[in-house]
């Protein structure tokens, strides 16, 4: 499981585990009926429970529980028939009750696993070689409430507290320390990010903090016991995660090689400097005084509820990949590309239903032209300006040779920019191929007659001239001749 670093210090192994906090996409908070909408005016979504008025009590949101179960089922985990909410006690201005309601020794989701595709990245902590598959074990996932936000510099020398976020449901997903490089950690985080959106339990919006990663990093000599870990807190971009891990790994190796010691610490990554530093606050010995929350009863998940949630679970990426390779004879590369997101897969299947049997060409267009255009326009799949029906309509015309590949590109560009269906674009732009063999033969006959000397050269062995004839014929057909048909006719007639 352990990959060696291949830069500078091959003698060190890297051990990485992740704790990911995913905000669940419920309408209301985990323990109250306040809205969870992002971006509201400060404290306008902080109801009596969110600000912890004396006497208020928590009541658990069914939507949060269902989402946790859904995640557990998606990673093949054991769903606890009875789990317990506990209080984690500490003082902080963004924690209004002075405790966070979380789950401690009895979480709702038990052990599971996630299969990831690791693409090598560049950097000192990179694993080497080709894209490979790896299984990362998930230790547990538990429900808890989010804290509020501190707004620094709100007033001279003061910090402002906004409790709109307080009480937003979180699923904390804890992995085993199974990752051995920044590349693996990022691949795992990406796979998890894709999964939570795939199964519709989180919007995964990283800018808004819906998906935040804490990364535990340690290094050790091969065969040595685990090193002391430092926890990089609150990473909300994959790029920063890679940078932070690279920096931290190098820092730990340098420290140890210079005879220093690593002390367990909570650290922050500064994207501006690319460095990590230990946090100054929460210097208290972590004594959270967990105990079962007396305001909440044990959460019992009945087999009925479990089955109800299971019925809402979509086909998962792994299963889809397998089906795409077997059912549609697609390559692993194509299957991976098409299952990069649920939107992509849904688009593919919808477009394909319009042109059955054209899976390969459909995959090519989605992974190729469509993805490239989305990238260029900085759009998500969900914002794609063309519909599966439009793409399918175009693919249909490629398949029945109405248009050439070059024509298709033109149709696609027009569709992307101005909308419309393939047939009317083909009509309007006159992109229909000439496939009438009589017409093509007539063009070829005229070219052969007008270029007797070149024909002679060709026939005497100058094969390269074939392209010259194709060019002339295409020009004569104003680019509309069906290329395959034209080739056939030309070959036949030139052969004499």
């Amino acid at each position: 499981m352990i990959h060696k670093t291949n830069v500078r210090a091959p003698a060190w192994e890297i051990v990485i585990g992740l704790e990911v906090h995913t905000q669940l996409s419920t309408n209301s908070k985990i323990f109250s009926g306040a809205s969870t909408t992002y971006g509201a005016e400060p404290n306008t979504q902080a109801d009596a429970v969110s600000i912890a008025l004396p006497g208020v009590l928590p009541v658990l949101n069914k939507g949060a529980v269902e989402r946790a179960i859904k995640f557990g089922l998606a990673v093949g985990a054991h769903i606890a028939p009875r789990s317990v909410f506990a209080r984690k006690n500490y003082f902080y201005p963004d924690l209004p009750k002075g405790y966070q309601i979380s789950q401690f020794d009895l979480p709702v989701v038990g052990q599971g696993a996630l299969t990831i595709q690791v693409e090598p990245l560049s950097g000192p902590s990179t694993g080497s070689g080709q894209t490979y598959e790896k299984v990362v074990r998930i230790t547990r996932a538990h429900l808890e409430e989010d804290a509020g936000k501190s707004v620094h510099g709100a007033s001279q020398g003061m910090t402002g507290v906004d409790l709109n976020r307080a009480g937003t449901p979180l699923l904390e997903i804890v992995s085993e320390p199974d990752m051995c490089s920044a590349a693996e950690a990022v691949a795992y985080a990406k796979a998890l990010h894709s999964l939570v959106r795939w199964i519709g339990i989180s919007d995964g919006n990283m800018q808004e903090g819906s998906f935040r990663c804490d990364v535990n990093v340690s290094v050790r000599k091969p065969g040595a016991p685990l090193g002391t870990r430092r926890e990089i807190k609150n990473l909300n971009s994959f790029k920063f995660m890679q940078q932070a891990i690279d920096y931290e790994v190098q820092w730990q190796i340098d420290t140890l090689e210079n005879g220093g010691k690593i002390h367990q610490a909570t650290i922050l990554f500064n994207p501006d400097t690319g460095e990590t530093r230990a946090m100054r606050s929460k210097e208290d010995a972590h004594d959270y005084r967990y105990f079962p929350d007396p305001d909440l009863l044990p959460l019992d998940i009945t087999p009925v509820m479990l089955e109800q949630v299971r019925a809402t679970l979509p086909e998962l990426p792994q299963a889809k990949r397998a089906r795409y390779t077997s059912e549609y004879a697609l390559s692993a590369y194509d299957a991976n590309g098409l299952t990069a997101s649920r939107e992509m897969a849904d688009f593919f299947e919808a477009a394909l239903s319009d042109v059955p049997g054209q899976a390969k060409i459909c995959a090519n267009w989605l992974i190729g032209e469509v993805s490239a255009q989305l990238n260029r326009d900085d759009l998500e799949m969900a914002q794609c300006p063309i519909t599966p029906l439009q793409l399918g309509g175009m693919l249909k015309r490629i398949a029945d040779s109405t248009i050439s590949n070059a024509g298709a590109k033109e149709v696609f560009r027009a569709m992307w920019a101005e909308g419309g269906d393939a047939d009317s674009i083909i009509e309007a732009k006159g992109l229909k191929q000439v496939s009438d063999s009589g017409v093509i033969e007539k063009i070829v006959d005229e070219i052969i007659a007008a270029n007797a000397d070149k024909v002679a050269e060709y026939r005497s062995g100058k094969d390269k001239l074939f392209g010259f004839f194709v060019g002339l014929a295409m020009k004569a057909s104003k680019g509309k001749a069906n290329p395959a048909q034209l080739n056939d006719v030309l070959k036949k007639k030139l052969a004499g």
């Binding site: 209301s28 109250s32 809205s35 404290n43 009596a48 003061m158 409790l163 100054r280 208290d284 007396p294």
Partner: protein, 95 residues
Amino acid sequence: MILANADVRKVARLARLAMSEAEIDAARTQLSGIFDLIAEMQAVDTQGITPMSHAQDLSQRLREDVVTQANQRELFQAIAPQIEAGLYLVPQVIE
């Protein structure tokens, strides 16, 4: 049970209660007396007994995921010690 001043100090710190040395002395004596009272239960054999967290052995009721609470910021912040622009103000937090 005899508590040390250091124990009391640590607990006061965890509970965020400012205490003078004199108060710590007094608290130590009183808490020691209370822990003597509590110590009675240490001798009881509780092997195999399930801890009882709630008066009833029931399961958590679930709330439908609907927004029921309107904005009441003005009402709630009327009783706040210090606010500005809708934010609760506290002395600077250093991360």
